[in-house]
Symmetry: C2
Subunit: 242 residues, 2 copies
């Protein structure tokens, strides 16, 4: 199989990428996609990503827990913020969650109408994702959520980590995959130390979420891959919830 | 002086950057900005960047030499293509040149209405540019021309090289400067070998321009900095033409 892998470093560039017939992996390591992986792995039934705070609150009426983050902080009046550790120990097993974040949910809703399949990636499910993609015939586009449209560090690093796992089976399309891979290879021995130089990590560390950052950088904690089914994220059937 | 430096990795992201009152450095290493530096250093009187082939041809009537490249190749009916080596040995000293390229001229015309000053950067004038920027009080935005809107390797690498020269005097704003710097530091010992893995270099090498690529990667060949004055690029007065 001759498959290609490309990286879109910002949702603002998504119009330059062909998504038709392809698998899109949405990446928002700090912290939306890390929450999604953790939540579903810890027994949450489904996650409904929405673009706005209003849409999120509307779902509360249908029994959803609501999770909202803007600019790195939990929004008042919502059940949860954007910490993946809130889902540990099956805290919300069996519940449905509606989630809205600054960048990650937008990346999902932008790619959903076009892609063949939308998956959720984070360091937490890196290996499960790599194994699944190796078995699929489709080309892959990694979509980094970035920060308010700009390229960010942690999502670029994760794209590089995933490409490092796939370069034996997939052809790197353009320069962004090579940029991501080289970056990851250069700093992988101390991801946390390096990332703490980045603007988003510094922004987040003001909110006391250094522990979240350490949690989100742990590779292969979970075997689940969230997949978009209709409007909701559920566990991809071939992967295993904890 | 507390100055900031940021990197816009694609002209498609330019709307996210504040340019007002700032110095913008346009970067299109392969090969538009390398041509501009070489041309002006080799005695060309001025360079008029235009967006379209038609605009370029119209200037021929006013005595301009015309230079046009699309998709990496010289366009039929124009005097010059996009090889910086064509300007060597003062071949066109005293002439005016109108130039249109796939990405570089667009980056210039997009930033011109907003920036305080638009400069042209390439490895060929790296050190002259760094020295000049160290002396200016303004914040700096490095604008990579990319490839048809996508992030490319060679422009990201040059941004990283320039940031490496300026990190003692300028604060890195967001993640893109850190990505660029880390990438450059990781591969600077063999820029040519690394770059030949990139898609644009491979695309260009089909046209037999490997020598151009080697030429464009030479640091500090020239002391001139092209600056946009009205609609034309001329030598920045404080810098020295050869």
């Amino acid at each position: 199989m001759n498959r290609q892998i490309d990286v879109c470093l910002s949702p603002e560039l998504l119009n330059l990428y062909e998504l038709e017939g392809r698998i899109v992996v949405v990446i928002d390591v700090l912290r939306a996609t890390s929450c999604m992986v953790t939540g579903l792995a810890e027994g949450v039934e489904s996650i409904h990503p929405v673009a706005t705070l209003d849409q999120c609150l509307q779902l509360a009426g249908s029994g959803y827990l609501t999770a909202a983050e803007r600019g790195g902080e939990q929004v008042a009046g919502f059940d949860l913020g954007n910490s993946p550790r809130a889902y540990l120990n099956g805290a919300f097993a069996g519940r449905k969650v509606a989630i809205t974040t600054t960048n990650g949910t937008l990346a999902i809703t932008k790619s959903a109408p076009f892609a063949k399949q939308v998956l959720i990636g984070a360091f937490l499910n890196l290996n499960a994702l790599a194994e699944y993609l190796r078995q699929q015939p489709e080309d892959v586009v990694l979509l980094c959520a970035g920060w308010k449209g700009k390229v960010n560090m942690e999502d670029t690093l994760f794209a590089g980590a995933l490409i490092s796992e796939l370069e034996a089976t997939h052809t790197l399309c353009c320069d962004a995959p090579l940029v991501s891979k080289t970056l990851y290879q250069a700093v992988k021995e101390d991801l946390f130390g390096y990332l703490m130089q980045s603007s988003h990590a510094q922004r987040l560390s003001k909110f006391g979420v250094e522990e979240d950052i350490r949690f989100c950088l742990q590779a292969d904690q979970y075997g689940v891959i969230p997949v978009l089914k209709g409007e909701e994220l559920v566990v991809l059937p071939s992967t295993v919830s904890q």
